[in-house]
Structure formats: structure tokens, C-alpha cells
């Protein structure tokens, strides 16, 4: 289990990086926590590796009222510690193990586009975007790819050959929004069998599900979830409605997903599970939102 040979490039800035990517058929190395296992198992054998770890200006976490921009070299642990975005922080605690998070990058996880990974769901549910750069022959050209277009298929993102994902933007939550991330993994830190990331705003509720489709499955539940009652109490009539709403939402989520079976779980179990987790995540997000509103 040793990586195959490759030509190594260590560009010092973004322009050099995309110039190199334009010239050679190369893979980008950032954290390497997904790429290097594939190289070690010789499941990938790129002729060129473009290591961006020495490139200036690709790190950083910038937060403003509109949201958080995470640079290509920002490690999971760095973003987690920064606490810049509550949903991102919550999701990051579910990503692998602390040691992997010390090296792995947020943008790298997005580009890797594992359908069972947490971060793509966060980007998707928030309607964020990824900034992608390429060399257009004379300068660095940049495009913004919205989350809805970024995840193309399992392990496939919209980043084209020759392009480099330079940052990801996670829109900020509203002051009265509540969020939650619920998942079930076989072992702590494993990719989830299914997971649900929920955002409940005063206007409506939205979830993104992992592990139950080729890309994060986003379900806009509109006002299906009763927002006035944070934590449904089955004894109150209004809350009975809320509980029914949650069950209906869970059903809607189940219907939107197309899980597959693998050695860890059957498709039927995943479909059941994603509904359970949707209900839990929505309840928790609604509770949090209600608390934020002082309800």
C-alpha cells in the first residue's frame, strides 16, 4: 500500500496553482485525508499532484453578516474551533476523528463529494456556494458554483479538470433560525448510514440528507412544520398538530430519498432511519429556533 509515482508541484500562490493545473493533468492535494488513502491503495494514480499547502492566500476563515467564507486550506479543526458558523461547527464534530480533522480541509470535503459526508449537506441546506478558479490563459478566472449545482453525483463535484476550488461560502443563519444535525453511524466517526441536517427559520423548514442518495438530498418542507411550538408536547392540542406535522415532514423526507443498500445497512433501514432523523433534527432545530425567538 504505497502510492504510485507522480510528478509533484508545490505552487506558491493561486495563480501558479491554476497555471499548473491548466498545464498538466493533475489532482489537487490539500489535506489529503481522502486522496492519500486512495493513492496508497492505488485506486487513483494521477500523473501530477498539485500540492497547494504552500500556496499563499488560500487559507483563512472570513465571517461577515452575510456568512462565512472558508479558504481551501482551512482545516476542519480550525473551522470547528473558530465557531464561525453554528451549523458548520456542529457538523464538523461529526466528521471522522479529531486527528483527521487536524489535517482535512472543509473545501476538500466538499470537492470530494462523498454522498455520506456531512459538509456537503451543510452547504446544500444553507444554499451556499463554492468559488472555483482556473487559468484562462492570461489571468485567474473565478466562478461561483451554487450548492445546488456543485454536487453532481457520488464522489463527483462540479470542479472540472484544471480547476481549483478556492473557497466555500456558507450563508449566515438568521437570528431566529434553529439548526440541528442528526446522524447514525456504525462507529463514532464513521461515515453516516444516514444523516439529516435541518434548518428551521420563521419562514419555513429545510433539510439536507446524507447517505440516502447520490448527492445530498435537499427537501424544502415549506411551512409544513409548525414553528410556533418548539418542542412538541403530545398532551397539548396544538402540539399534537405539531407532532403530526413532524411525522408528515419525516414522511416527505423519506419519499424524497433514494437510499441504496450496502454491507452496513439495507435500503429499507436507511429510508426508515432518515425519517426518524429528520423528525429528530426538525424537532431540535425548531426547539432551538423557538428558544432564539424567546418563544
Amino acid at each position: 500500500m504505497k502510492p504510485p509515482p507522480f510528478t509533484y508541484h508545490a505552487p506558491r500562490d493561486l495563480a501558479a496553482a491554476v497555471r499548473t493545473l491548466a498545464e498538466v493533468d493533475g489532482k489537487v492535494l490539500a489535506g489529503g485525508q481522502s486522496l492519500i488513502p486512495m493513492l496508497n491503495m492505488r485506486l487513483a494514480a494521477p500523473a501530477h499532484l498539485v500540492d497547494i499547502n504552500r500556496a499563499e492566500g488560500l487559507g483563512g476563515i472570513e465571517a461577515d453578516p452575510a456568512g462565512v467564507r472558508v479558504g481551501a486550506l482551512a482545516r476542519h479543526s480550525e473551522v470547528e474551533r473558530s465557531g464561525a458558523h453554528p451549523l458548520l461547527t456542529r457538523a464538523l464534530r461529526l466528521v471522522a476523528h479529531p486527528v483527521i480533522r487536524n489535517r482535512g480541509t472543509v473545501v476538500g470535503s466538499l470537492v470530494h463529494a462523498d454522498p455520506a459526508a456531512e459538509l456537503p449537506a451543510v452547504l446544500a441546506v444553507l444554499g451556499g456556494a463554492v468559488r472555483v478558479a482556473r487559468w484562462d490563459g492570461g489571468a485567474v478566472a473565478v466562478r461561483e458554483v451554487p450548492a445546488a449545482e456543485f454536487f453532481v453525483g457520488p464522489m463527483e463535484s462540479a470542479v472540472a479538470p484544471g480547476e481549483l476550488a478556492v473557497s466555500a461560502f456558507f450563508p449566515a443563519l438568521g437570528a431566529h433560525d434553529g439548526v440541528a444535525f442528526e446522524e447514525v453511524a456504525r462507529r463514532h466517526g464513521d461515515y453516516a448510514l444516514a444523516g439529516v441536517c435541518a434548518v428551521v427559520t420563521p419562514r419555513g423548514a429545510k433539510v439536507a440528507c446524507v447517505g440516502v442518495g447520490p448527492v445530498p438530498v435537499v427537501v424544502d418542507l415549506g411551512d409544513l412544520v409548525n414553528l410556533d411550538s418548539g418542542a412538541p408536547d403530545p398532551r397539548a392540542a396544538a402540539d399534537l398538530r405539531a407532532a403530526a406535522d413532524l411525522r408528515a415532514a419525516a414522511e416527505a423526507v423519506r419519499e424524497a430519498t433514494e437510499p441504496e443498500a450496502d454491507i452496513h445497512a439495507s435500503a429499507a433501514y436507511r429510508r426508515h432511519l432518515v425519517g426518524v432523523l429528520a423528525e429528530r433534527a426538525l424537532r431540535e432545530a425548531a426547539r432551538e429556533g423557538a428558544a432564539a425567538r424567546g418563544a
Partner: protein, 159 residues
């Protein structure tokens, strides 16, 4: 093509000529002769190869040596004091029987050293979460968890 790199390992600058694909784990073990860092899976799951990169634990099997040219590394060989006295974490592992075959131990020691540097008095849950990326096939973890708490005590006593 080979690359001339310098790694500051356990406080000493070490130079090596390595091809780009040389994993940091192999560079430490075979180029620098520091065989205390072990290799258990080479796909980043077992944690045997964990070393400290600029103070933070990372998988040396998921890092190319050339990427960390110039960085400071601490391996298991560098945990004891210059006088050879074992660190509090090492002593706690011995005292609590936190190792059997010893193969995963260097990875645990590096992980726990960093964990306690950041959180000197972890709760049980924090300890378990902190070591949750390291596999041990011998101990069932119970004595490792005990050792982490004991190391925290020793560090507090000696502070």
C-alpha cells in the same frame, strides 16, 4: 525526482532526500530510522502512525514528507525528557497497564499528549472522544482511558 527536505524531529533538524511520494511515516521510519512510529493500515483509520505536526496530532501515513518540509514533528521517541525520564503520559500508561503488544501505543501517546496539552482535565467523554480515532486490538481501551486520567493527574501534580 527526489526532493531535499528538512524536518525538525524531536527538536533536531534532520535532512533527507525523498521522492515526492514518500509517506511521512516511511520517511520517519526508513529514511530517519525512527521506527517508533508504527504503520498499521496505511489508510488513516488505525492511528498507529499518529505523530505531532507543529504540536497537533496527524496521521503520518496520510501525509507526504515533502508537504511538511520545514515543519516541526514530535514522535514517540521525543516524548520523554532529555534526561530520559518518561513523560507523565508514558508513566501513566505503564502504571495503568494501558498497553499490551505496544504496537498502537506510540499513536495513542502522541494523541493523548496533545489532548492533555489542550485540555488538562478532560471528562470521561472528552477522553473517549479524544482517543476515538485510535484503534487498539489488545486492551479494550479501559486501561487506556484510565491512563489518560492518571496522566492528567500527574501533570497537575507536577505543574
Amino acid at each position: 525526482m527526489e526532493h531535499e527536505i528538512t524536518l525538525i524531529v524531536n527538536g533536531t533538524a534532520r535532512r533527507a532526500r525523498v521522492p515526492a511520494r514518500r509517506l511521512l511515516s516511511d520517511c520517519l521510519r526508513h529514511d530517519l530510522g525512527l521506527t517508533g512510529t508504527h504503520v498499521g493500515c496505511e489508510h488513516g483509520v488505525c492511528g498507529c502512525c499518529t505523530v505531532l505536526l507543529d504540536g497537533r496530532p496527524v496521521r503520518s501515513c496520510l501525509t507526504f514528507a515533502v508537504t511538511v518540509d520545514g515543519a516541526e514533528l514530535t514522535t514517540v521517541e521525543g516524548l520523554a525528557g532529555r534526561d530520559g525520564r518518561l513523560s507523565a503520559v508514558q508513566r501513566a500508561f505503564a502504571e495503568c497497564h494501558g498497553l499490551q503488544c505496544g504496537f498502537c501505543t506510540p499513536g495513542f501517546l502522541c494523541t493523548v499528549t496533545a489532548l492533555l496539552a489542550e485540555n488538562p482535565a478532560p471528562t470521561d467523554d472528552e477522553v473517549i472522544d479524544g482517543i476515538s480515532g485510535n484503534l487498539c486490538r489488545c486492551t479494550g481501551y479501559q486501561n487506556i482511558v484510565k491512563a489518560v486520567h492518571r496522566a492528567a493527574e500527574l501533570l497537575a501534580e507536577e505543574a
